[in-house]
């Protein structure tokens, strides 16, 4: 398959993460667990967040869905685990901006690392939700965990 569009969607990095997802499986301890669903296509994710003070100590998940949603979850965990919440949130926002860019934005590789591979997804409106599923679940769970732990800021 050599159509350039396709390659820009299914980057090798995405396929790698899809085939060998990082941090998959639900782990203890955690302060919040959420279940998110994309009703349009049936993609599902259950995601747990464990905070250690201001730091995202662990993110674990289970779910099923297309390669984009699965790879995105994997890449996301790589990016946020170990980061202070504020910094992780900034990465999330950068990723959101990329997804809304309709392919017009040059992604910031320093911030997004492997997630730059998703730049092409922003040109496929129907797939953006797939790429965002895990991120939205993480954001939701983190907010709940912060509430849970008494608010870290």
């Amino acid at each position: 398959m050599s159509a350039p569009q396709l390659e820009s969607l299914y980057q090798e990095i995405i396929l790698d993460h899809y085939r060998k997802p990082h941090h998959r499986g639900l782990r203890d301890p955690y302060e919040a667990e959420v279940h998110h669903l994309n009703p349009t296509c049936g993609d599902e994710i259950t995601l747990r967040v464990h905070l250690d003070g201001e730091t995202v100590a662990d993110v674990s998940y289970e779910g099923h869905g297309c390669s984009i949603s699965q790879a995105s979850a994997s890449v996301m965990t790589d990016l946020v685990i170990g980061k202070p919440i504020g910094e992780a949130t900034a990465v999330h926002e950068e990723f959101l901006r990329l997804m809304q860019s309709k392919g017009e934005l040059e992604p910031d590789e320093d911030v997004l690392e492997d997630a730059v591979a998703f730049a092409g997804v922003s040109r496929y409106p129907a797939r953006i939700k797939c790429a965002l599923l895990a991120w939205m679940a993480w954001k939701d769970a983190t907010a709940q965990a912060v509430d849970q732990t008494g608010g870290s800021e």
Binding site: A3, G42, C66
Partner: protein, 411 residues
């Protein structure tokens, strides 16, 4: 019937559909296998609408100037064409709506339901034949009952006698499933429903476009279908119902055209079908739908059906040859139409659809607005290839080749 028509020549027919010559991107011709979502439109339909808009456009009814009389004659003429296409004895039984969804909502809004009443639908319904009844039951206190499904994608009618009882006021079900392709036994279910005096509504959105449907003998009291799936334009649908049923039901939307007399104290309503057609109707779209049924009648619905049956068989053979592919719905040709859902082992339908699109092959992926059926089969989504009169073996070959590429890409 078939004998009266020219032999079915797909190559010639394809020339009537300009979009089929399109490339989805340079060098990649379109292979359209998404006709169950919406059909393409032949030139005859586009020309009829253009001619209407360029030469006869006026608002219908009550007008006495030339254009208004022409527009009215064209609009009411389209109603007659549609009536005779489905074997309705009286064109007043044809109500134009905006789509099939509105047709079913109309019925679900005006059929009287009370606490203790029951409505029976099936687990293979399109959301458009589920949600209106869920809402109607919520409003009225009636109860919704479901006919279940068998593992091979058919209605499980083993407990029909328990499900349909004296409490049943409406039995509503799909004639041909858009997800599974299953063709349901209307007469059997209708007979049972009529025994208990229930109204039978058939969602014919996927049958009227693809096979001869004769409402006089079908067994249903009401039938819904939609223009855009039968070579017609978007923006128009049809509710056919028995004249006496339409006459006894209260109005749906209020406004211009649907009234007899309006005073500040209250209003009386026009005779059917206009009672159910509030506001300026989809005039150009009715003209387009009229041209569409002319087009279909010229080909002959028997011939259309025979062509699709042949090609569906070819499609099923092709799909069965793909490693790790499972058909969701009847795996054989028995009582099934040309919408075939499938899943590829370990590859999500979104990825299947996206990769097929790279080869120009357009299939639909998702729950196809039939989520309860997907849940029944334990799958979040399927890929669905669906055929129409302009589909040919080359389309199917391109799909099967594309699926091979999908497998190797994700293999």
């Amino acid at each position: 019937m078939t004998s009266a028509h020219a032999p079915f020549d797909v190559a010639r027919i394809r020339k009537d559909f300009p979009i089929l010559e399109r490339e989805v991107r340079p060098g990649v011709p379109l292979v359209y296998l998404d006709s169950a979502a919406t059909s393409q439109k032949p030139l005859a339909v586009l020309d009829a609408m253009r001619d209407y808009n360029e030469r006869h456009n006026a608002n219908v009814h009550r007008g006495i100037h030339t254009l208004a009389e022409e527009a009215t004659a064209l609009y009411e003429g389209a109603r007659e064409k549609v009536a005779s296409f489905i074997g309705a004895t009286d064109s007043r039984e044809v109500v134009f709506t905006k789509n099939s969804t509105e047709a079913m909502n109309l019925l679900a809004r005006v059929v009287p339901l009370h606490p203790g009443d029951e409505v029976v639908i099936t687990e293979m319904e399109h959301h458009s034949n589920i949600v209106p009844w869920q809402l109607a039951c919520e409003r009225s206190g009636a109860t919704l009952k479901w006919i279940g499904l068998t593992d091979d994608g058919r209605l499980d009618l083993s407990n029909l006698d328990q499900l349909v009882s004296e409490r049943t006021k409406v039995v509503a079900f799909v004639h041909q499933s858009n997800l599974l392709g299953t063709v349901n036994p209307v007469a059997t279910i209708a007979a049972k429903a009529h025994e208990v005096g229930a109204i039978v509504m058939v969602d014919a959105s996927q049958s009227v476009p693809h096979m001869p449907v004769d409402v006089a003998t079908l067994g249903a009291d009401a039938v819904a279908f939609t223009g855009h799936k039968m070579c017609g334009p978007t923006g128009i649908g049809v509710l056919w119902a028995r004249l006496d049923l339409l006459e006894e039901l209260p109005p749906f939307l209020g406004g211009g055209e649907m009234i007899d007399e309006v005073t500040m104290a209250g209003s009386t309503y026009a005779a059917v079908p206009h009672k159910f057609e509030a506001g300026t109707p989809p005039i150009a779209q009715a003209v387009g739908l009229g041209a569409a049924v002319d087009y279909l009648s010229d080909l002959g619905m028997d011939a259309v059906h025979a062509h699709e049956q042949q090609l569906t068989s070819y499609l099923l053979d092709g799909l069965h040859s793909v490693d790790g592919l499972r058909v969701i719905g009847p795996p054989t040709m028995e009582s099934r139409g040309g919408a075939v859902s499938f899943i590829l082992d370990g590859i999500h339908p979104h990825d299947v659809g996206q990769l097929l699109d790279e080869s120009g092959v357009a299939v639909r992926v998702g729950h196809h607005c039939a989520r309860p059926a997907c849940l029944r089969y334990g799958i979040p989504a399927t890929s669905r290839a669906s055929l129409y009169l302009y589909s040919d073996t080359a389309d199917v070959d391109a799909l099967i080749a594309g699926l091979g590429k999908v497998r190797s890409f994700f293999g």
